[in-house]
Protein backbone atom coordinates (compact mmCIF):
# COMPACT_ATOMS: atom_id res chain seq x y z
CA UNK A 1 0.00 0.00 0.00
CA UNK A 2 2.83 2.33 0.85
CA UNK A 3 4.43 1.36 -2.39
CA UNK A 4 1.33 2.22 -4.32
CA UNK A 5 1.09 5.54 -2.64
CA UNK A 6 4.70 6.22 -3.48
CA UNK A 7 4.13 5.30 -7.09
CA UNK A 8 1.11 7.53 -7.18
CA UNK A 9 3.13 10.36 -5.76
CA UNK A 10 5.89 9.88 -8.28
CA UNK A 11 3.43 9.81 -11.11
CA UNK A 12 1.72 12.93 -9.84
CA UNK A 13 5.03 14.71 -9.90
CA UNK A 14 5.70 13.27 -13.28
CA UNK A 15 2.45 14.72 -14.50
CA UNK A 16 3.33 18.07 -13.02
CA UNK A 17 6.61 17.83 -14.83
CA UNK A 18 4.96 17.07 -18.15
CA UNK A 19 2.28 19.70 -17.78
CA UNK A 20 4.07 22.44 -19.73
CA UNK A 21 4.23 20.14 -22.72
CA UNK A 22 0.47 20.41 -22.90
CA UNK A 23 -0.06 23.90 -21.63
CA UNK A 24 2.81 25.74 -23.27
CA UNK A 25 2.46 24.32 -26.72
CA UNK A 26 -0.09 25.88 -28.97
CA UNK A 27 -1.63 23.82 -31.75
CA UNK A 28 0.10 24.34 -35.02
CA UNK A 29 -1.60 26.47 -37.60
CA UNK A 30 0.88 26.18 -40.37
CA UNK A 31 3.43 23.71 -41.56
CA UNK A 32 6.95 24.25 -40.38
CA UNK A 33 9.54 25.01 -43.08
CA UNK A 34 10.79 21.46 -43.26
CA UNK A 35 7.35 19.99 -43.77
CA UNK A 36 6.54 22.78 -46.19
CA UNK A 37 9.51 21.80 -48.24
CA UNK A 38 8.46 18.19 -48.25
CA UNK A 39 4.92 19.04 -49.24
CA UNK A 40 5.87 21.58 -51.85
CA UNK A 41 8.79 19.88 -53.52
CA UNK A 42 8.18 16.29 -52.58
CA UNK A 43 5.69 15.45 -55.34
CA UNK A 44 7.92 16.91 -58.02
CA UNK A 45 11.19 15.69 -56.65
CA UNK A 46 10.19 12.15 -55.83
CA UNK A 47 6.97 11.70 -57.68
CA UNK A 48 5.10 10.13 -54.81
CA UNK A 49 1.54 11.21 -54.25
CA UNK A 50 1.56 9.98 -50.69
CA UNK A 51 3.87 12.42 -49.00
CA UNK A 52 4.17 10.28 -45.92
CA UNK A 53 5.54 7.60 -48.16
CA UNK A 54 8.04 9.92 -49.74
CA UNK A 55 9.21 10.94 -46.30
CA UNK A 56 9.40 7.35 -45.14
CA UNK A 57 11.03 5.79 -48.12
CA UNK A 58 13.34 8.49 -49.34
CA UNK A 59 13.78 11.53 -47.18
CA UNK A 60 14.02 9.46 -44.05
CA UNK A 61 14.98 6.27 -45.79
CA UNK A 62 17.64 5.44 -43.28
CA UNK A 63 15.01 5.31 -40.57
CA UNK A 64 13.06 2.88 -42.62
CA UNK A 65 16.08 0.74 -43.21
CA UNK A 66 16.56 0.80 -39.48
CA UNK A 67 12.95 -0.09 -38.96
CA UNK A 68 13.30 -3.08 -41.25
CA UNK A 69 16.41 -3.98 -39.32
CA UNK A 70 14.50 -3.73 -36.03
CA UNK A 71 11.87 -6.09 -37.23
CA UNK A 72 14.53 -8.36 -38.58
CA UNK A 73 16.28 -8.33 -35.22
CA UNK A 74 13.05 -9.07 -33.47
CA UNK A 75 12.51 -12.05 -35.72
CA UNK A 76 15.99 -13.29 -35.18
CA UNK A 77 15.70 -12.64 -31.47
CA UNK A 78 12.42 -14.42 -31.08
CA UNK A 79 13.77 -17.35 -33.04
CA UNK A 80 16.89 -17.29 -30.96
CA UNK A 81 15.19 -17.22 -27.61
CA UNK A 82 12.59 -19.85 -28.32
CA UNK A 83 13.66 -23.38 -28.77
CA UNK A 84 12.03 -25.04 -31.71
CA UNK A 85 10.17 -28.15 -30.95
CA UNK A 86 11.95 -31.14 -32.35
CA UNK A 87 9.71 -32.81 -34.87
CA UNK A 88 5.97 -32.48 -34.85
CA UNK A 89 5.46 -36.07 -33.79
CA UNK A 90 6.53 -35.53 -30.22
CA UNK A 91 3.93 -32.85 -29.93
CA UNK A 92 2.65 -33.35 -26.41
CA UNK A 93 -0.77 -31.80 -26.57
CA UNK A 94 -2.98 -32.38 -29.47
CA UNK A 95 -4.36 -29.20 -30.81
CA UNK A 96 -8.02 -29.03 -31.44
CA UNK A 97 -8.90 -29.11 -35.08
CA UNK A 98 -10.44 -25.98 -36.41
CA UNK A 99 -13.92 -26.12 -37.72
CA UNK A 100 -14.63 -27.05 -41.26
CA UNK A 101 -16.25 -23.71 -41.90
CA UNK A 102 -13.20 -21.84 -40.79
CA UNK A 103 -11.02 -24.01 -42.97
CA UNK A 104 -13.12 -23.45 -46.01
CA UNK A 105 -13.32 -19.76 -45.32
CA UNK A 106 -9.60 -19.59 -44.95
CA UNK A 107 -9.01 -21.35 -48.21
CA UNK A 108 -11.30 -18.89 -49.90
CA UNK A 109 -9.97 -15.79 -48.23
CA UNK A 110 -6.25 -16.38 -48.20
CA UNK A 111 -5.59 -15.50 -51.86
CA UNK A 112 -7.75 -12.46 -51.56
CA UNK A 113 -6.00 -11.21 -48.45
CA UNK A 114 -2.74 -11.86 -50.16
CA UNK A 115 -3.78 -9.81 -53.10
CA UNK A 116 -4.99 -7.11 -50.80
CA UNK A 117 -1.64 -7.03 -49.07
CA UNK A 118 0.12 -6.74 -52.39
CA UNK A 119 -2.25 -3.98 -53.35
CA UNK A 120 -1.41 -2.09 -50.18
CA UNK A 121 2.31 -2.15 -50.56
CA UNK A 122 2.27 -1.67 -54.28
CA UNK A 123 0.15 1.44 -53.91
CA UNK A 124 2.11 2.81 -51.02
CA UNK A 125 2.94 5.90 -53.01
CA UNK A 126 -0.67 6.54 -54.00
CA UNK A 127 -2.84 5.50 -51.09
CA UNK A 128 -2.32 5.09 -47.40
CA UNK A 129 -0.28 2.11 -46.49
CA UNK A 130 2.93 0.73 -47.72
CA UNK A 131 5.40 -1.97 -47.10
CA UNK A 132 4.77 -2.40 -43.43
CA UNK A 133 1.02 -2.42 -43.61
CA UNK A 134 1.06 -4.64 -46.66
CA UNK A 135 3.51 -6.94 -44.98
CA UNK A 136 1.27 -7.20 -41.97
CA UNK A 137 -1.70 -8.01 -44.15
CA UNK A 138 0.22 -10.73 -45.92
CA UNK A 139 1.39 -12.05 -42.61
CA UNK A 140 -2.15 -12.10 -41.38
CA UNK A 141 -3.18 -14.14 -44.39
CA UNK A 142 -0.63 -16.73 -43.40
CA UNK A 143 -1.64 -16.34 -39.79
CA UNK A 144 -5.15 -17.21 -40.82
CA UNK A 145 -3.90 -20.43 -42.38
CA UNK A 146 -1.89 -21.12 -39.29
CA UNK A 147 -5.01 -20.70 -37.22
CA UNK A 148 -7.06 -22.95 -39.45
CA UNK A 149 -4.45 -25.58 -40.10
CA UNK A 150 -2.27 -25.57 -37.00
CA UNK A 151 -0.48 -28.75 -37.98
CA UNK A 152 0.64 -27.59 -41.36
CA UNK A 153 4.27 -26.63 -41.67
CA UNK A 154 5.50 -23.48 -43.25
CA UNK A 155 8.20 -23.95 -45.81
CA UNK A 156 11.07 -22.31 -44.02
CA UNK A 157 13.45 -22.42 -46.91
CA UNK A 158 11.17 -20.35 -49.07
CA UNK A 159 10.37 -18.04 -46.19
CA UNK A 160 14.03 -17.52 -45.47
CA UNK A 161 14.84 -17.00 -49.08
CA UNK A 162 12.13 -14.39 -49.49
CA UNK A 163 13.22 -12.64 -46.35
CA UNK A 164 16.90 -12.64 -47.18
CA UNK A 165 16.62 -11.81 -50.82
CA UNK A 166 14.13 -9.02 -50.41
CA UNK A 167 16.31 -7.51 -47.73
CA UNK A 168 19.40 -7.78 -49.85
CA UNK A 169 17.61 -6.37 -52.86
CA UNK A 170 16.45 -3.43 -50.79
CA UNK A 171 20.04 -2.77 -49.89
CA UNK A 172 21.12 -3.15 -53.48
CA UNK A 173 18.58 -0.58 -54.55
CA UNK A 174 19.88 1.65 -51.83
CA UNK A 175 23.41 1.24 -53.07
CA UNK A 176 22.33 1.88 -56.62
CA UNK A 177 21.10 5.20 -55.33
CA UNK A 178 24.64 6.15 -54.44
CA UNK A 179 25.89 5.51 -57.92
CA UNK A 180 22.93 6.21 -60.16
CA UNK A 181 21.27 8.98 -58.21
CA UNK A 182 22.20 11.44 -55.56
CA UNK A 183 22.59 9.28 -52.52
CA UNK A 184 21.92 6.14 -50.56
CA UNK A 185 18.29 5.07 -50.82
CA UNK A 186 17.47 7.72 -53.39
CA UNK A 187 14.41 6.53 -55.24
CA UNK A 188 15.26 8.38 -58.43
CA UNK A 189 17.19 5.54 -59.93
CA UNK A 190 14.09 4.75 -61.97
CA UNK A 191 12.15 7.34 -63.98
CA UNK A 192 9.57 9.18 -61.95
CA UNK A 193 6.79 8.36 -64.40
CA UNK A 194 3.35 9.92 -64.55
CA UNK A 195 2.46 11.45 -61.25
CA UNK A 196 -0.34 9.64 -59.51
CA UNK A 197 -0.20 6.42 -61.46
CA UNK A 198 1.06 3.04 -60.46
CA UNK A 199 4.38 3.12 -62.26
CA UNK A 200 5.62 6.34 -60.85
CA UNK A 201 7.69 7.69 -58.01
CA UNK A 202 10.86 5.99 -59.17
CA UNK A 203 11.89 3.08 -57.08
CA UNK A 204 9.38 3.66 -54.31
CA UNK A 205 6.97 0.91 -55.38
CA UNK A 206 9.87 -1.47 -55.78
CA UNK A 207 11.27 -0.58 -52.40
CA UNK A 208 7.90 -0.86 -50.77
CA UNK A 209 7.28 -4.19 -52.41
CA UNK A 210 10.54 -5.49 -51.09
CA UNK A 211 9.81 -4.10 -47.66
CA UNK A 212 6.38 -5.62 -47.82
CA UNK A 213 7.73 -9.03 -48.66
CA UNK A 214 10.40 -8.75 -46.06
CA UNK A 215 8.11 -7.52 -43.32
CA UNK A 216 5.57 -10.14 -44.20
CA UNK A 217 8.04 -12.96 -44.07
CA UNK A 218 9.59 -11.61 -40.90
CA UNK A 219 6.29 -11.39 -39.12
CA UNK A 220 5.43 -14.86 -40.26
CA UNK A 221 8.78 -15.89 -38.90
CA UNK A 222 7.95 -14.40 -35.51
CA UNK A 223 4.56 -16.02 -35.39
CA UNK A 224 5.91 -19.31 -36.59
CA UNK A 225 8.64 -19.47 -34.00
CA UNK A 226 6.15 -18.58 -31.32
CA UNK A 227 3.79 -21.25 -32.48
CA UNK A 228 6.30 -24.02 -32.90
CA UNK A 229 8.40 -23.52 -29.85
CA UNK A 230 8.26 -25.66 -26.77
CA UNK A 231 5.52 -24.67 -24.49
Amino acid sequence: MVKRFLILLVLVFFVIMLLPLVSDIQPQTELNPLAKKYVKDGPDELGSANLVTSVIVTYRGLDTLGEVAVLFIATAGVGFMLRRRKGSKTNPQKKRESSEILQTGTALLTPLIFLFGIYIFLHGHLTPGGGFQGGVVIASAILLSMLSFPQSEINHKILNAIESLSGVLYLVIGILGIYLAAGFLDNRILPLGDFGRLFSAGAIPVIYSLIGLKVGSELVGILDSMQRSDS
Binding site: R96, S99, I101, L102, G105, L108, L109
Partner: protein
Protein backbone atom coordinates in the same frame (compact mmCIF):
# COMPACT_ATOMS: atom_id res chain seq x y z
CA UNK B 1 -29.71 11.37 -53.29
CA UNK B 2 -27.73 12.61 -50.32
CA UNK B 3 -30.80 12.62 -48.17
CA UNK B 4 -31.70 9.13 -49.30
CA UNK B 5 -28.24 7.97 -48.42
CA UNK B 6 -28.55 9.76 -45.11
CA UNK B 7 -31.74 7.96 -44.28
CA UNK B 8 -30.24 4.60 -45.10
CA UNK B 9 -27.24 5.43 -42.99
CA UNK B 10 -29.49 6.45 -40.16
CA UNK B 11 -31.38 3.19 -40.30
CA UNK B 12 -28.09 1.36 -40.37
CA UNK B 13 -26.89 3.20 -37.32
CA UNK B 14 -30.09 2.29 -35.52
CA UNK B 15 -29.39 -1.34 -36.24
CA UNK B 16 -25.86 -0.87 -34.98
CA UNK B 17 -27.25 0.59 -31.81
CA UNK B 18 -29.68 -2.27 -31.48
CA UNK B 19 -26.92 -4.76 -31.94
CA UNK B 20 -24.92 -3.05 -29.23
CA UNK B 21 -27.96 -2.94 -27.02
CA UNK B 22 -28.44 -6.61 -27.74
CA UNK B 23 -25.06 -7.58 -26.50
CA UNK B 24 -25.72 -5.58 -23.38
CA UNK B 25 -29.11 -7.07 -22.70
CA UNK B 26 -28.83 -10.65 -23.80
CA UNK B 27 -28.27 -13.20 -21.04
CA UNK B 28 -25.53 -15.41 -22.39
CA UNK B 29 -22.74 -15.41 -24.85
CA UNK B 30 -24.58 -17.18 -27.62
CA UNK B 31 -27.52 -14.90 -27.53
CA UNK B 32 -25.25 -11.92 -27.44
CA UNK B 33 -23.58 -13.25 -30.50
CA UNK B 34 -26.92 -13.50 -32.17
CA UNK B 35 -27.52 -9.85 -31.55
CA UNK B 36 -23.98 -8.87 -32.24
CA UNK B 37 -23.51 -10.59 -35.55
CA UNK B 38 -26.91 -10.07 -37.03
CA UNK B 39 -27.91 -6.61 -36.05
CA UNK B 40 -24.51 -5.15 -36.62
CA UNK B 41 -24.01 -6.85 -39.94
CA UNK B 42 -27.16 -5.44 -41.32
CA UNK B 43 -26.44 -2.19 -39.59
CA UNK B 44 -23.05 -1.73 -41.11
CA UNK B 45 -24.31 -2.91 -44.45
CA UNK B 46 -26.90 -0.19 -44.46
CA UNK B 47 -24.59 2.37 -42.97
CA UNK B 48 -21.96 1.84 -45.65
CA UNK B 49 -24.49 1.64 -48.42
CA UNK B 50 -26.01 4.86 -47.26
CA UNK B 51 -22.72 6.63 -47.31
CA UNK B 52 -21.87 5.21 -50.69
CA UNK B 53 -25.16 6.42 -52.04
CA UNK B 54 -24.84 9.74 -50.35
CA UNK B 55 -21.40 10.34 -51.74
CA UNK B 56 -21.83 8.73 -55.09
CA UNK B 57 -19.51 11.25 -56.68
CA UNK B 58 -16.48 10.19 -54.74
CA UNK B 59 -16.01 6.90 -56.53
CA UNK B 60 -15.98 5.03 -53.29
CA UNK B 61 -18.69 2.62 -54.28
CA UNK B 62 -16.31 -0.16 -55.24
CA UNK B 63 -14.36 -0.05 -52.10
CA UNK B 64 -17.47 0.00 -50.02
CA UNK B 65 -18.74 -2.93 -51.99
CA UNK B 66 -15.60 -4.87 -51.21
CA UNK B 67 -15.91 -3.89 -47.61
CA UNK B 68 -19.49 -5.04 -47.42
CA UNK B 69 -18.75 -8.34 -49.09
CA UNK B 70 -15.84 -8.90 -46.86
CA UNK B 71 -17.83 -8.20 -43.74
CA UNK B 72 -20.72 -10.38 -44.80
CA UNK B 73 -18.35 -13.16 -45.53
CA UNK B 74 -16.10 -12.96 -42.51
CA UNK B 75 -18.39 -11.89 -39.74
CA UNK B 76 -20.35 -15.13 -39.56
CA UNK B 77 -17.14 -17.11 -39.74
CA UNK B 78 -15.67 -15.34 -36.78
CA UNK B 79 -18.93 -15.60 -34.87
CA UNK B 80 -19.09 -19.25 -35.60
CA UNK B 81 -15.52 -19.80 -34.54
CA UNK B 82 -16.14 -17.94 -31.33
CA UNK B 83 -19.35 -19.78 -30.59
CA UNK B 84 -17.65 -23.07 -31.23
CA UNK B 85 -14.80 -22.13 -28.93
CA UNK B 86 -17.14 -20.88 -26.25
CA UNK B 87 -19.09 -24.07 -26.35
CA UNK B 88 -15.97 -26.16 -26.36
CA UNK B 89 -14.54 -24.58 -23.25
CA UNK B 90 -17.88 -25.07 -21.58
CA UNK B 91 -19.31 -21.62 -21.26
CA UNK B 92 -22.83 -22.49 -20.22
CA UNK B 93 -25.98 -21.55 -21.99
CA UNK B 94 -28.38 -19.38 -20.13
CA UNK B 95 -30.84 -21.00 -17.78
CA UNK B 96 -33.65 -20.19 -20.13
CA UNK B 97 -32.20 -22.59 -22.69
CA UNK B 98 -34.36 -25.47 -23.62
CA UNK B 99 -31.89 -27.83 -25.21
CA UNK B 100 -28.27 -28.41 -26.00
CA UNK B 101 -27.98 -31.05 -28.65
CA UNK B 102 -24.27 -30.52 -29.14
CA UNK B 103 -23.42 -31.04 -25.49
CA UNK B 104 -25.46 -34.22 -25.45
CA UNK B 105 -23.69 -35.56 -28.49
CA UNK B 106 -20.33 -34.67 -27.10
CA UNK B 107 -20.96 -36.38 -23.81
CA UNK B 108 -22.25 -39.45 -25.61
CA UNK B 109 -19.10 -39.56 -27.62
CA UNK B 110 -16.95 -39.28 -24.54
CA UNK B 111 -18.85 -42.08 -22.88
CA UNK B 112 -18.36 -44.21 -25.93
CA UNK B 113 -14.65 -43.63 -25.82
CA UNK B 114 -14.35 -44.36 -22.15
Amino acid sequence: MAVFGGIITFVGSIFLLLGALGIVRMPDVYNRMQAGTKATTLGILLFLAGIAIGHIECMCIFRILILILFIIFTNPISSHALARAAHHIGIPLTDKSVTDALAEDESEKEEAIS
